[in-house]
């Protein structure tokens, strides 16, 4: 299961790099990469080979061990977040029910926030160890941005957890959307805040200030080359995949979809049937892909925020909005009878 999720993350991230370029091309009336393999499908492999073959440069003035640690940490934390995501309904194999999730920890949401916060260390250490002012500026921006937006994100999640029944486990949150509506119905504002914060957390445009080419050369990865640079860039796509999965799970029902139980009943499927898992996974994956497309659509539409605009948006707009959302949620849930004083 572990290996499957790992490979899934890597595979999706690899093809997200291709799709990013294709999608950008379509939005700009171009065709995108089309040379490597049919319709450019082997492009990620070509890119990977290129990255590995490039000359590896570690600056003399850098702190060597930290310089190497940076991208590793960033990559590891990116992959680690996928641990708590339930991919489909449990599957019966040889008379035993298997959860299609690496581990269902009861503090899954907090685990996610925690691991995502560690991710910023990868950038911070990488930028600091480069001993380069552009890299340091990029790293400082990355950390301040991530810290600012994590607060709004966390408060949006608290509201979500209140309205979805109080469990911090991702499995419970997703299962809770099996009957009744997806959480987006009760948390539209919360979703908007979470989505904006997810853009900021993954360093995607319009919040890609840490790697802002125009002012900071390459930001925190200015001094990186070869596969270390590859790890940084690749981890961004893994982050994007995982945050898409989280948003699809938290707000759009994950592997549930409307009239799912009716469909399963009409197909004569029982709980634990592998087909249920497969259809559920298909539904989840479709939602994830749509979210990845949304990420890219935003990136190829919006210019980058100025730094003060970024901080204003984070502290003066999103934080109050998320608090308002939390207050509204408490009121609404009180009248729905989900919380008692």
């Amino acid at each position: 299961m572990c290996a499957a999720v790992f490979l899934l993350s890597l595979g999706v991230a690899a093809y997200a790099t291709l799709w990013e370029r294709k999608f950008a091309a379509f939005l700009q009336d171009r065709k995108g990469p089309s040379r490597a393999g049919p319709a450019g499908l082997l492009q990620p492999i070509a890119d990977g080979v290129k990255m590995f073959m490039k000359e590896e440069i570690i600056p003399n003035v850098s702190n060597r061990s930290l310089f190497i640690l940076g991208p590793c940490l960033f990559m590891v934390t990116a992959v680690m977040t996928s641990v708590v995501i339930p991919w489909a309904k449990p599957m019966m194999i040889g008379g035993h029910m298997y959860d299609l999730q690496i581990t269902d920890i009861n503090i899954g949401t907090i685990y996610l926030l925690g691991v995502v916060s560690i991710g910023v260390y990868g950038i911070m250490i990488g930028g600091w160890a480069s001993n380069n002012k552009f890299a340091l500026l990029g790293a400082v921006r990355a950390s301040s941005q991530m810290i600012s937006y994590e607060i709004a994100m966390g408060i949006a999640l608290i509201a979500l957890i209140i309205s979805s029944g109080g469990s911090l486990s991702l499995k419970d949150i997703i299962e809770g959307q099996d009957k009744g509506f997806a959480n987006i119905v009760w948390q539209p504002l919360g979703f908007l805040i979470f989505f904006i914060c997810a853009l900021a957390e993954t360093n995607r445009a319009p919040f890609d200030l840490p790697e802002c080419e125009t002012e900071l050369v390459g930001g925190y990865h200015t001094e990186y080359s070869s596969m270390k640079l590859g790890l940084f860039l690749f981890a961004e796509y893994i982050n994007m995949f995982i945050s898409s999965a989280i948003m699809a799970g938290f707000y759009f029902g994950g592997y549930n979809f409307p009239f799912a139980s009716e469909l399963y009943a009409s197909l004569g499927l029982h709980e634990g049937d592998w087909l249920i898992s497969l259809i559920g996974f298909g539904a989840y994956f479709t939602k994830i892909v749509l979210f990845i497309c949304l990420f890219m659509w935003v990136r190829w539409t919006l210019p980058r925020f100025r730094y003060d605009q970024l901080m204003n948006l984070g502290w003066k707009t999103l934080l109050p909005l998320s608090l308002l959302n939390l207050a509204l949620t408490v009121v609404v849930e009180y009248f729905r009878g989900n919380i008692h004083f």
Binding site: A25, F26, L27, Q28, D29, R30, K31, S34, W297, V298, W300, T301, L302, L313, T317
Partner: protein
């Protein structure tokens, strides 16, 4: 006093709430990009697809042979003189006995080089040629990695004897008739007094 009406009033008014939360503007922008998603891309996948070109397209030059396979060029240098980019250089050779099947007249171009990076593909060489020897064709000059690769010698310019290159699109009867008009620069060649002018090779 107003001198022009190009005055612009700069306003620094406070952003409205809708502008401050960016969302309406973002939505508008995203609709614009989305509308491009379904537009046809104007890209042409070059080596596989080719852009349609005019009949009289001026591409890579060819040095023609006559119907017997002998080179038409007599190294008169008219093309080099006509060339505004000074892309053409040549040296002359004298035909020896037994080479009649190779060269049409007693004098021939021992070397003939066109620097394709200098050439502007204007076609003046073709217009100047009194021997119908040089033509521009619809072939596109190949890409290269080094500058010296773009100096095309006779090996690339003279048409292969078994792979004749069709220039009838450019050498129409009208063009042939036009070239016979007396007084045209290339007809001066027949004027013995002016022969030495512009014939320094």
């Amino acid at each position: 006093m107003q001198l022009t009406n190009r005055k612009i009033v700069v306003s620094n008014k406070e952003q409205s709430f809708a502008e401050r939360i960016y969302l309406p503007a973002i939505f508008k922008g995203m609709m614009i990009t989305a509308s491009h998603l379904f537009k046809k891309s104007p890209t042409i996948n070059y080596p596989e697809q080719k852009r349609p070109i005019a009949n009289v397209y001026r591409g890579q030059h060819v040095l023609k042979r006559d119907e017997n396979g002998a080179e038409r060029c007599t190294s008169c240098g008219m093309c080099a003189v006509a060339c505004p980019a000074e892309a053409i250089t040549m040296t002359s050779g004298e035909r020896k006995k037994g080479e009649e099947h190779l060269y049409r007249e007693e004098k021939y171009a021992a070397t003939y080089e066109i620097d394709m990076l200098r050439c502007i593909f204007c076609g003046l060489c073709e217009e100047a040629c009194p021997k119908e020897a040089i033509f521009l064709t619809d072939r596109i000059v190949d890409a290269g990695f080094e500058r010296k690769e773009f100096v095309f010698g006779k090996d690339k310019l003279v048409e292969k004897i078994d792979q004749r290159i069709d220039v009838t699109k450019r050498q129409t009867p009208e063009v042939l008739a036009f070239k016979k008009i007396p007084g045209l620069k290339h007809n001066e060649l027949y004027d013995a007094k002016k022969l030495n002018k512009g014939h320094k090779h």
